[in-house]
């Protein structure tokens, strides 16, 4: 959100870009520029310092130079080309300077090298002494007149503070002990439940809990030095949370301000309340949008209800006001209009004043400075410690809080001295998800998109004439345009199915992301043997068509564009304006004929010509859809609507955040994914689902970038803490930075042990699979549950593990909330009495899922120990409980602090759904991360650019490969991919199973799905290729026996007990792998 220097505003974007490319970097053409402006820090190693600065500033100011397409569009759209300082060839993008422009060039050069300023905020408050209007339902307004208030309550903005602390911060063990002692004393003096910090630090973590690895050996260290980015790996039970609490307190005492990011707002709030107890001014960061407010207020309501054991009537805690949603103006609405107030949509920034018919202007509510709804953001300014979830970083700071437009990431970078990121591996996964976006456009689950289209439509038809109305109309037209093309595609795919087609084309449609590159790649692979035309020519043709459609789409269709082949251009024009499908098909056929001729296919080769026609048809519709999608997203962003869960799913970082992280190494890859649903019995098509996917950026770089967000201004130190962030095969969870410190138990006792059993079920002689069973998944899951719990002689007691005379509980871990209900339903069928002793975890209570009917919400996880007499078995989805939430016996119980769950059943193997992009996001992110690393050897610019281009092709190919594999390890061809996949599951499994060994107890783990060891289930022998458990064991073994002592130490401590359990189980039959099988 930095604005362009006033000097730069005088010049065309193209001139500024040319100065950077030609005069500062030294490029002769603009084709290579996108390889350097992608935000990768490795570029700094091959360009001059000045060039690196100029490139960073181009990104910060929002110059669109991320792809050759964007640059060409810039060239195309530049008016008065004759008056430019540079001449840019439209085809080759070669840049030549016009004579006599050196003064202007120098002016641009100097301006580009200056750090661009942030845009200032301007808050216009409504005058409370005069009447004003607030929006009501159905586009109506309501007149409000405030009495007794003459001036607006202006919200105080964040004070200008000095830059974050310079130089390293050192904390000794002695400092930590002193802090623990002080906090314990405060507990006693304040009459609080003692947290026993000293005991936790000394007894649980060991007096010297910190070791570091330097010069190839481990060293006990008596101090931690925080300097820039720091990775602290805390082995299980070594007190990461204790350390965060002590550090936040200690740093506050030294005058530092800290921000701590956790896996959820609820966990952040727990930490916040804890620190408040010790006199640290602690506040919560979370989004102030209406949807965020609603979500957090609901979660808070659930928490208060769960904490107090009833609906929460009359209960509260000190966080309540932070989640408040009330509006001070609502009390002024006339009683008879009260029901017309839009729910949870107060007019904080949408007040109009100056007469009912005056031009509507958005004014800020004059009460905002004292309104309870904004209490949380007000308090933040004066707080020493901020707590929140990572997702807040991309949110814009309300303009009433700061004098400049910025995101929370920038505010944190500007004002905090140290940033803690708890569960850094989970944070990395969450950040990866923000590098790509997906929108369900058509078919199943696309109702929200359709609803959005209708909503925009209803707004745009309201007859308003202003920029917003125009943007809404654009969005609506484009959105309906998408539907038109998709309905044609739907029809096309159905017809294709009827008449049959080349299997390679079919594979493209079913497994790939559809865009110009993949479609032309498919056409080439189909015709490779029939034509002598090069692969490049295929891509050229596709690009030409895309360019033609893009030109026609964005610009005046009647204007002659010589760049596009005339005939193709005409057809594109006709195609774009075609109202009927028949006519569109006719144009597609004409375009296909041009393609066939260009590919030198003989007229009589009807088979291959049909293949070309099919490809061209898909290509035309896909390109058109993508263009429309871009328009919709741009228009929505312009209007101020961020597609979210309430409208359409899109997790992508906001455009304000993208300049701070690098582009994806795959470039800006976007396309459509098609899923064809079939009838179970006759396999006929029952539906076509189409989704937009786009891979854009590498947000996982953000923690490292925070230390110097804009490149030149100093930022905070960043400390990443986690337990499971070290497993090199895991593309999702492994942190690239090796641990600087390892928290390890010095006085380690005997560690907890797992006992693994594999017990699959057979039906008519065949093993029952749940994972990978497709439509039979539910039936098979029920069959397994029936097999285990249907035996009257085997109640829950039969499976319970004893600990000190206490029967610990059993857990059934599934993949989704739907499966929780299936399992409970099946247990009910087996035995109603068993069902009474089982509880299921739901996301929130519903009519049929209430506490009294045997359900608990995920928010109540930490309170499950309190009502442990009420249940024997718990059914929950693996991802339901946030990290750091312990399910343990309560204080006062003989097993206090030890895991409630002793036996864990896995009736289904964790398996990503077709929609889960985690694995793919991780793979792309790792490649981007590698490309971001500084280059140590001397490389010239040309070689660097060439390498980057090749890497982009490789990345795109990898994306296609993985999409084709459908994410299943059974389909994964390369051992490397299978190991990456298994490593992700291993991390997740370790987190889930870890709940059963909390407090140093042992646990029984039972794998029920045949998919865990399919060959054993069929009477054969499993290997690491067939069984994911054995592959996990192989990964662990390789590291433990490897030559890197750091890796061996960590992996052994983290996963040693899992390895021992897999190797000692007799229930999985193995045979010795052949030599070198997995290399």
């Amino acid at each position: 959100m930095r604005s362009r220097n006033i000097v730069l505003k005088k010049y065309e974007d193209l001139d500024v870009v040319c100065v950077v490319a030609r005069e500062i970097i030294g490029l002769g053409d603009l084709n290579k520029l996108p390889e350097l402006t992608s935000g990768l820090r490795s570029v700094d190693s091959v360009v001059s310092e000045e060039a690196a600065v100029a490139i960073r500033h181009l990104r910060l100011m929002g110059y669109k130079v991320n792809s050759v397409g964007q640059i060409k569009a810039m060239v195309e759209s530049t008016k008065n080309a004759d008056e430019l300082l540079f001449n840019v060839h439209k085809e080759t993008l070669i840049v030549s300077a016009r004579s006599g422009t050196s003064v202007q060039v120098e002016e641009i050069r100097n301006a580009v090298l200056e750090l661009p300023q942030r845009r200032s905020t301007e808050v216009r408050y409504a005058d409370p002494s005069k009447p004003f209007w607030i929006p009501m339902k159905h586009n109506s307004t309501h007149r409000i007149e405030l009495q007794g208030i003459s001036e607006p309550f202006v919200q105080a903005t964040h004070p200008e503070l000095p830059r974050p602390a310079e130089g390293p911060i050192t904390i000794s063990t002695r400092d930590l002990l002193d802090a623990a002692r002080e906090m314990d004393r405060m507990d006693i003096e304040g009459g609080h439940q003692p947290e026993k910090w000293m005991a936790r630090l000394v007894k649980d973590a060991g007096l010297t809990p910190v070791i570091c690895f330097k010069d190839h050996e481990f060293k006990d260290v008596s101090e931690i030095t925080i300097d820039g980015l720091c990775n602290v790996l805390g082995l299980p039970g070594t007190g990461k949370t204790t350390l965060i609490n002590l550090l936040v307190y200690l740093l506050k005492k030294r005058g530092y301000r800290t921000a701590t990011f956790t896996t959820s707002v609820a966990v952040a709030d727990q930490l916040r309340r804890m620190q408040s107890r010790y006199g640290v001014k602690s506040e919560l960061m979370f989004g102030s949008s209406n949807s965020a407010k609603e979500r957090h207020a609901a979660n808070f309501g659930d928490f208060i209800a769960a904490e107090n054991g009833d609906a929460g009537f009359g209960h509260t805690n000190e966080s309540a006001i932070l989640f408040a949603t009330g509006c001070m103006l609502e009390g002024h609405v006339m009683a008879d209009r009260y029901d017309q107030l839009p729910e949870n949509n107060p007019p904080c920034r949408s007040i109009s004043q100056g007469g009912k018919n005056a031009v509507r202007s958005k004014l800020t509510c004059p009460m905002i400075g004292i309104c309870g709804r904004h209490e949380s953001s007000r308090r933040l300014a004066a707080a020493d410690a901020w707590f929140g979830h990572m997702s807040i970083l991309e949110v814009k700071v309300p303009e009433t809080m700061v004098a400049e437009k910025m995101t929370y990431a920038e505010l944190v970078a500007q004002q905090m001295d140290v940033v803690f990121i708890d569960e850094a591996d989970a944070a990395q996964k969450a950040l990866d998800a923000k590098g790509s976006e997906r929108i369900k456009l058509y078919g199943k689950d696309a109702e929200k998109y359709q609803k959005l289209v209708n909503e925009i439509g209803s707004k745009s038809s309201a007859g308003k004439i202003n920029w917003k109305a125009a943007a809404e109309k654009r969005a609506h037209d484009a959105a309906t345009g998408i539907l038109r093309h998709l309905s044609v595609l739907d029809l096309f795919f159905r017809k294709l199915e009827e008449r049959g087609c080349d299997r390679r084309f079919k594979k493209l449609v079913h497994d790939s992301i559809l865009n110009t590159s993949t479609i032309m790649g498919s056409l080439y692979s189909c015709l490779e043997k029939q034509t002598s035309i090069s692969k490049d020519r295929f891509y050229e043709l596709g690009t030409e068509l895309e360019s033609g459609l893009r030109t026609v789409y964005f610009f005046d269709a009647n204007k002659d564009r010589a760049r596009v082949e005339n005939r193709l251009h005409e057809l594109c024009t006709a195609y774009s304006g075609t109202a009927t499908n028949d006519l569109a098909n006719a144009h597609v056929n004409s375009i296909a004929n041009i393609f066939s001729d260009a590919l030198e296919l003989p007229d009589e080769d009807s088979v291959n010509r049909q293949l070309v026609t099919d490809h061209v048809a898909v290509l035309c519709h896909v390109i058109s859809c993508l263009l429309h999608v871009e328009t919709v997203l741009r228009a929505l962003a312009f209007i101020g609507v961020k597609p979210d869960d309430n409208t359409i799913k899109s997790d992508l970082f906001t455009k304000d955040m993208l300049p701070f992280v690098a582009e994806s190494v795959a470039g800006r890859l976007s396309g459509l994914r098609v899923e064809i649903e079939r009838h179970e019995a006759d396999r006929t098509i029952t539906g076509v689902n189409i989704e937009y996917q786009s891979y854009v950026a590498t947000p996982r770089l953000l923690p490292a970038r925070l230390t110097r967000l804009s490149g030149s201004e100093r930022g905070p130190h960043v400390v990443m803490l986690s337990a499971t962030s070290y497993l090199p095969e895991s593309k999702t969870y492994h942190l690239r930075r090796r641990p600087d410190y390892i928290l390890s138990r010095v006085q380690a006792g005997e560690s907890s042990q797992y006992k693994f059993s594999f017990a699959s079920t057979t039906y008519r002689g065949s093993p029952v699979h749940v994972s990978g069973a497709g439509a039979d998944r539910e039936v098979n899951l029920r069959m397994i549950i029936r097999e285990v719990f249907g035996d009257a002689n085997k109640t829950f007691e039969f499976y319970k593990l004893k600990e000190g005379g206490v029967d610990r509980k059993i857990a059934i871990v599934v993949n989704s909330y739907d499966q929780v209900n299936m399992v409970l339903d099946e247990i009910q069928r087996c035995s109603p009495s068993l069902r009474k002793r089982a509880i299921g975890i739901v996301s929130s209570y519903k009519d049929t899922q209430k506490r009294e009917s045997g359900y608990r919400t995920a928010q109540e996880a930490s309170l499950l120990g309190r009502d442990h007499f009420d249940w024997d078995a718990i059914v929950f989805p693996a991802a339901a409980f946030g990290r750091g939430v312990n399910v343990v016996y309560p204080e006062g119980h003989e097993l206090h602090g030890k895991a409630l769950i002793g036996t864990m059943f896995f009736p289904i193997r964790p398996h990503p759904s077709a929609e889960d992009m985690t694995f793919l996001q991780g793979v792309v992110a790792v490649m981007s991360e590698e490309a971001d690393q500084p280059i140590s050897s001397v490389v010239d610019l040309e070689t660097f650019i060439e390498k980057r281009r090749k890497l982009r092709h490789v990345a795109k190919s990898r994306i296609s490969e993985i999409l084709e594999m459908g994410g299943s390890p059974l389909k994964l061809g390369a051992a490397q991919d299978a190991s990456s996949f298994a490593a992700n599951i291993l991390v997740e499994l370790n987190q889930v199973m870890g709940r059963a060994i909390r407090g140093g107890v042992n646990a029984n783990i039972v794998f029920l799905d045949a998919a865990w060891a399919p060959l054993t289930a069929s009477g054969g022998f499993d290997t690491a290729e067939s069984s994911i458990l054995l592959r996990m064991a192989m990964i662990i073994e390789q590291h433990v026996a490897g030559t890197d002592p750091l890796t061996a130490h960590i992996i052994d401590n983290l996963y040693g007990n899992i390895l021992a359990a897999i190797r000692s189980t007799k229930t999985i039959r193995t045979e010795k792998p052949k030599e070198n099988e997995f290399e």
């Binding site: 808070f300 309501g301 208060i304 408040a324 009330g326 609502e330 506490r851 009502d867 007499f869």
Partner: protein, 381 residues
């Protein structure tokens, strides 16, 4: 701008509606999605009033002017205190209502005043206590007045004397009192988990009979009664193990509030009076026209446990709700000794307040304010 009484009344309506809803659905209380509009509107009115007060204070003591009513949970918590203690909302209060909390801070149920004010606002028709009462009366209507009155007394006494009972006891009562059994069965609910102690059992208070709340203090579990009078009882609370929570039932919250806790003093006085054979006393005679009365309608006694004598006197200034007492020749308002002892001139102040607030003289309406000891002495028990 609305008067304080109007604001208080809208808050009362909101509290009653929210409580009703949460009892009916059992769903967690949330600001968005399931907050009754009455409550939201009450908060909004209070919030806007807070802004005016803040403006009037010219920004002084900003910390006292935090807009707590923006949060539903904070608002409910605030309602546990009388309005005169609500921060930032009301500064000069002359109304009596300012000294009443809307929510009972121990039972976490709406106070009687909330229901009364909701009643004034015409929103009393379906509160839970009334629902139980009307169901009970529907069942009794089928019977003769004599039998019905006896059954009513028996049912109410059963609840007051045993708010926590084993499921078997409730079943036995249902079995032997078929006409009203169903209503009583509906009035008893399962025990909530928060009352289950670490050994898996529930305990009840030796004073009031209600469930005790287990709390973890240092390393031991202790039990607390939510009723303040029990906690301040001279002998202290003695936990009595009732048994497995699955076999225990507890009476509905609204009945706890309106029948059980006020009923403890009523039962105590009734039992002591009954020891004297000079007069035949009845508990809740003629369908609760008074708390204790004799069959000849010579003496009617209403037991009142108001902490403030002014409030007690004010409540008797208007007789509309006290018609039952008017049917007796001698009308006695009996106050437990513990209240009279702790407050000099309690009875005198109550009487003066009643006289001062009385707008007209009603023939035959002459309530006497007496302590329990005075009542017992008067009737030689």
């Amino acid at each position: 701008m609305l008067s304080f009484e109007e604001v208080f009344r809208s808050a009362a309506v909101g509290v009653v509606e929210l409580f009703k809803q949460s009892e009916r659905t059992g769903e967690p209380i949330k600001e968005i999605g399931n907050e009754p509009p009455e409550m939201r509107q009450a908060r909004a009115i209070m919030s806007s009033r807070a802004a005016v007060n803040y403006a009037a204070s010219k920004g002084e003591n900003a910390e006292k002017h935090i807009d707590l009513t923006a949060s539903l949970h904070e608002t409910l918590s605030m309602f546990k205190k009388p309005a005169c203690e609500w921060p930032g909302y009301y500064r000069e209060l002359e109304s009596d209502l300012a000294y009443y909390p809307l929510i009972n801070s121990e039972l976490l149920t709406p106070e009687r005043i909330a229901y009364d004010q909701a009643d004034v606002a015409g929103r009393m028709s379906d509160i839970e206590e009334n629902a139980h009462y009307s169901r009970l009366m529907t069942a009794i209507d089928e019977l003769s007045p004599v039998v019905g009155s006896a059954l009513y007394t028996r049912a109410r006494q059963f609840i007051v004397e045993g708010p926590v009972r084993r499921a078997r006891e409730v079943r036995d009562f249902v079995f032997t009192n078929g006409e009203i059994g169903q209503v009583i069965e509906e009035a008893y609910k399962p025990v909530q988990q928060q009352y289950v102690s670490l050994d898996g059992k529930v305990r009840r208070c030796s004073c009031c009979g209600n469930l005790l709340l287990p709390v973890q203090l240092s390393d031991a579990e202790q039990f607390v009664c939510r009723y303040r009078d029990c906690r301040s009882h001279e002998k202290g609370v003695t936990p009595e193990v009732v048994g497995d929570p699955r076999e225990v039932k507890v009476v509905d919250k609204s009945l706890l509030t309106f029948w059980v806790f006020p009923g403890l003093d009523e039962i105590e006085l009734y039992q002591t009076l009954s020891k004297s054979k000079a007069r035949v006393w009845s508990l809740y005679p003629n369908f609760d026209e008074v708390d204790i009365g004799d069959s000849a309608r010579e003496v009617g006694i209403d037991v009142k446990s108001y902490a403030r004598p002014g409030s007690l006197g004010a409540s008797f200034a208007a007789i509309t709700a006290k018609e039952g007492l008017l049917r007796y020749r001698r009308q006695i308002v009996a106050v437990p000794d513990r209240l009279v002892k702790g407050h000099p001139d309690y009875l005198l102040k109550a009487e003066r307040e009643m006289v001062a607030r009385r707008s007209k003289v009603v023939p035959g309406w002459n309530p006497e304010f007496m302590s329990f000891s005075q009542v017992l002495k008067e009737f030689e028990a």
